[in-house]
Amino acid sequence: MEPVIRIRGLRTQFGDQVVHENLDLDVRQGEILGIVGGSGTGKSVLLRTIIGLNHPAAGTIEVFGQNLAEVSPAERLAVEQRWGVLFQDGALFSSLTVAQNIEVPMKEHLGMPARLRDEIAALKIAMVGLPPEAGSKYPSELSGGMRKRAGLARSLALDPDLIFLDEPTAGLDPIGAANFDQLIRRLADNLGLTVFMVTHDLDSLNAICDRIAVLAEKHVMVVGPMVEMLRHEHPWLREYFHGPRARAARPQAQERAQEIGNEMEVKLNGD
């Protein structure tokens, strides 16, 4: 199947500072892809480049099979309506209530009547697990976790096929982060979403990502499921996935690796 996002030979730079060089990446239909990498390796820059907030110096980015650098503004808008973006702190419009924030894209792009907008906004609010009274609150009246949920609801306003999440669990307490992880997994499964997620949270990577892409040395060094990351010999990967903080998150993944190993053994023996 054609990948949802296909990046080839991407170079991004700010002045003389090259952030990505010859970066290739595919995001498959329906998967949750986690992007990890050390600070300053350009994870967020990559996200911003794909959604068109930065301009690449070289290379091509195709989303839904269309090269965004070459399409007309109208085609671009059509693609943009098929994705949703959750920024780090929600990036809600502070002068609008949560419900009005969710209604912005519906009003702007689809010209929906007010009554239908209100109904659909209420639906999205419930879907991201916010209480009904949160709809009439202003972003400044919400906690960080609620702001993220509201931001997620806005990114889902047009029922996108693809969502971008920039550090969705950063700044949440462990319980809130775990709940948010489950929310993303559930929404992705129920709505058939493809998720592109920048994260530092080993628990999220473990719990919900289908594949992980590691950014290092200016390109995507490895892509694969968690078990592959654990086997990889690169020193940075070893430190990242086997360090003291990883140890707490790891057992689950190791168990899974073990299971897969067992299954393979069973199959081999069976043959």
Partner: protein
Amino acid sequence: MTEGWVKVEAGGGEELLLQVGGIWDARNVTRLDPQLRGLGPAANITLDLSQLERLDTAGAWLLFRTLKEYRNRGGRAEVTGLTTSIEAMLEQVAANDTPAEIEPPRPNALRAMVEDVGGGAVDVVIEAKQQIAFLGLLLETLARSIRHPSRLRLVPLVHHMEQVGFNALPIVGLISFLIGVVLAYQGATQLQRFGAEIFVVNLIAVSVLREIAILLTAIVVAGRSGSAFTAEIGSMVVNEEVDAMRTLGLDPMEVLVLPRVLALVITLPLLAFFADMMGLFGGMLMCWGALDISPALFLERLQDAVSPWSFWVGIIKAPFFAFLIAMVGCLEGLRVTRSAESVGQQTTRSVVTSIFLVIVVDALFSIFFATVGV
């Protein structure tokens, strides 16, 4: 793939059969929504979804809402032609069917107006109290610094003097020059009718020196530097830098406020002097060009027209204005709460308040100088 559509296949009397097909997604629901509202008086409904190609939550909501409406009326609502994915989507929507609040309740308009007026009045009193308290704090800090001059921070003082004084020279000079030109031109056309063109020199000299140069300078500086003080200190408050200072035993009054206030108190009189000169220069050029009053004659008339007091009346006001502008700028900066919007609000407030206070104090000075007779 075809756009979403719905066909009413009227059954017999009580029964309604709807054919639903095509793509039912967010892009189609605006068109489909009116067709599903008010379908008619039938008691029972059957939705045939067998030709549905794609369904997302927005489309599923429309279907679910229609079914719910008939069920709530006590009728029968049935669905045929379900696939598992469509059923899952409908279940997803049904599970999240909770009406939410959209806007906070609006209070009664009259009540809101009365509340606004009252709140505004209370705010004025609170702000006045804060300004007086801040003035006291500032004078105390100043007194402490005079007793221990070593605690005065020289480098920031000089930095702010450059920012608010030296860098303001071009704009203050240009504005004063142009005002001199305008005054000479307007004055001359009026005075020519009486054959008294020569008195245009008196007009320019007295108005520029006593009022216009200093007032304009103060207003420009309030807009330029008062706002900068608020924004600088305000963004430090947002960044928790001011809190960090306090925990490190540094007094923000001493580190942030005093150098700014002193810098403006020192440089505003100098700027006012520069504005005086540029205003007179502009007037002189205009007199020469338009009225044939030579610079020599202009200077001679100037000496007759103005006493030293005309000049001092303007300059004396400068440090007072400077103190007000800097004080309001710093106070509003420290009143920023920890959000980025509040920096913008306080900056606007700082400029409006300081210009207002400058003009009030200017009026008080006029009364004072008239009473003492200079």
